[in-house]
């Protein structure tokens, strides 16, 4: 992890209410899929934790949804060539065992972005089956990146594109055919909960990336804790954000 002054290369909308921010770092920073960055915004005391979507040498892309004043400011007031303080790479990402060859990826909302990093990292030597959920056709983005694996099935709430239903439903419809060795997931908590229920008794290891409001982003302040099923607390930023699905309460 290091603190850098990044230079913005691009900061543009890629779907309804979703922006992609690409910045240059002075040197290449090795990033594991699922890790995140804390982005500093002028005038805001808290940094914004954003999952790294693409890391290509000295170019890093994070994506964000317009959600409040901070993300609106990021979208409207930060242009190419401006400098941005960034702390990265943070947290533990998705790491697969060599034996896990068939990988199912189940994402929803902004949860698709760390999963795109996983697809990019693992598509070359594993079979990736991606199930990605969106509200409607207009909110679908980065289709090319999501489709780098062996299969991509989009799911929309209104049926305007792909499977009519949730990403979890789309995945469960194919799970017996796909027989994944491992499942990677990120998305709204109700989605993760549904996945956990759906996988109960299936003996397929699954890893979820969690989201929480953060303070320091490095594990010192104990702001972003989650409850583990053993009753302990874990820091989403430092012990996560990726956890084994049965390790955490959802």
């Amino acid at each position: 992890m290091r603190e850098i002054t990044a230079t913005i290369l691009e900061n543009t909308p890629i779907a309804e209410g979703i922006f992609a921010l690409t910045f240059a770092t002075e040197e290449a920073i090795p990033v594991q899929a699922g890790q995140f960055a804390m982005i500093g915004l002028r005038g805001f005391p808290l940094r914004r934790p954003l999952a790294i979507c693409k890391a290509e040498g000295e170019r890093i892309t994070v994506c964000y949804r317009l959600n409040g004043e901070g993300t609106r400011s990021l979208a409207n007031e930060f242009r190419a060539r401006e400098k941005l303080p960034v702390l990265l790479p943070l947290g533990n990402g998705f790491s697969l065992k060599d034996s896990q060859r068939r990988v199912a990826v189940v994402g929803g909302g902004v949860g698709i972005f760390p999963l795109i990093a996983a697809i990019r990292q693992y598509a070359a030597d594993r079979e990736i089956y991606a199930y990605m959920g969106f509200r409607d056709r207009e909110s679908v983005c980065m289709e090319y990146e999501m489709g780098r694996g062996k299969r991509l099935l989009l799911a929309t709430d209104d049926g305007s594109c792909g499977y009519h239903g949730t990403a979890v439903q789309a995945f469960m419809g194919e799970i017996d055919k796909v027989r994944p060795d491992v499942v990677l997931s990120c998305g709204p908590t109700p989605m993760l909960r549904a996945l956990k229920v759906a996988l109960t008794g299936k003996k397929i290891p699954a890893y979820v990336s969690l989201e929480e409001r953060m303070g320091c982003g490095i594990g010192a302040c104990l702001v972003c804790v989650c409850k583990k099923t053993d009753g302990q607390r874990a820091r989403v930023c430092k012990d996560g954000p990726v956890f084994e699905i049965n390790e955490v309460e959802l």
Binding site: P45, G215, L222, V223, V225
Partner: protein, 303 residues
């Protein structure tokens, strides 16, 4: 190169910059980013006798120039800290153990447990985020004096800092009460109790409803309180509240502080503390200040 060292209760700090309790853990995470031996001291995460799980999430919210937090004193317990982190942290820099309790007896016991083991004890009688979490002791001067006395009676070797709450009627009276109770030093201010609303849901953002307000937006209030408190006591004062840079720290020194703590800015910029230390050195050199300690209490009010 100015002399940045300051003396606090007979203990020399290499500089007056201390990360504030609760923003810095026990120092290990920040030490992955920079060598924390550059710091004057570290104020630990608030410690209690028994481990505490803290509050539900969300524990943090943001306003303009401020944040609100309600972590609720999550910590692994003082004994765990002594066993796992203390020796390492002391090998780096001076250690201020921040301690809290629910009862007078808790305060006495935790002080006795840590006595002689750290460079300072900082009594947290001002945490606004837990029921019986100390702030009850920090509001009235009578109870400030009472809890300070209990802590004092249980400390033979370690200097006692009492951290004051700003949620009070008269900060000078509470500062004086801490001194009367036996405090060797006072630190202020802890956070203001605040409420941030998620207007879409018509609910507080924080699971705890209220939280402690900190950050640059509270700085002028904090400087005023440090000024008033330092005038009311003869013991040294550690000032804090919204420090973001060296110039902010100097305001506190001039208002009467011997050292300063930096909290929220560690989140805004993880390298805040070393940057402030460097900035203090540059400022002193630029203005021909040989010893930073000479700035303390030099503020002169307008006639």
């Amino acid at each position: 190169m100015a002399d940045l060292s300051v003396a606090l209760c007979g203990v020399t700090l290499k500089n007056p910059v201390i990360p504030a309790s609760g923003t810095f853990g026990f120092g290990r995470e920040f030490n992955e980013l920079y060598d924390i031996s550059c710091l004057g001291a570290v104020a630990t995460k608030g410690l209690t006798l028994a481990p505490r799980a803290g509050n539900p999430v969300p524990r943090i919210a943001e306003g303009r120039g401020v944040i609100l937090n309600a972590v609720g004193l999550q910590n692994p317990g003082a004994e765990y800290f002594i066993e796992h982190d203390l020796a390492w942290l002391r090998s780096k820099t001076r250690v201020i153990a921040n301690v809290a309790g629910s009862t007078l007896r808790d305060y006495g016991e935790i002080c006795a447990l840590l006595d002689g083991k750290t460079d300072f004890i900082e009594l947290n009688i001002s945490c606004p985020n837990v029921r019986c979490g100390g702030m009850a002791f920090g509001i009235r001067p009578e109870s400030v004096k009472e809890v300070t006395k209990i802590a004092r009676e249980n400390l033979q070797k370690t200097p006692l800092i009492v951290k004051l709450s700003p949620n009070v009627e008269n900060i000078a009276k509470n500062a004086a009460a801490a001194e009367e109770g036996g405090a060797d030093c006072i630190s202020l201010i802890n956070t203001f109790t605040g409420l941030a609303v998620d207007i879409r849901r018509r609910r507080p953002i924080l699971a705890n409803n209220t939280g402690g307000v900190s950050g640059a937006g509270i700085r002028p209030i904090a400087v005023r309180m440090v000024y008033e408190a330092s005038r009311a006591v003869s013991v040294p004062v550690i000032g804090m509240g919204g420090i973001t840079c060296a110039e902010d720290a100097i305001e506190f020194l001039m208002a009467g502080a011997t050292a300063v703590q930096v909290g929220t800015q560690n989140f805004t910029d993880a390298l805040a503390c070393p940057k402030i230390i460097e900035g203090l050195n540059e400022w002193c050199d630029f203005y021909g200040i040989g010893r930073i300690a000479s700035l303390t209490g030099t503020l002169q009010l307008n006639g």
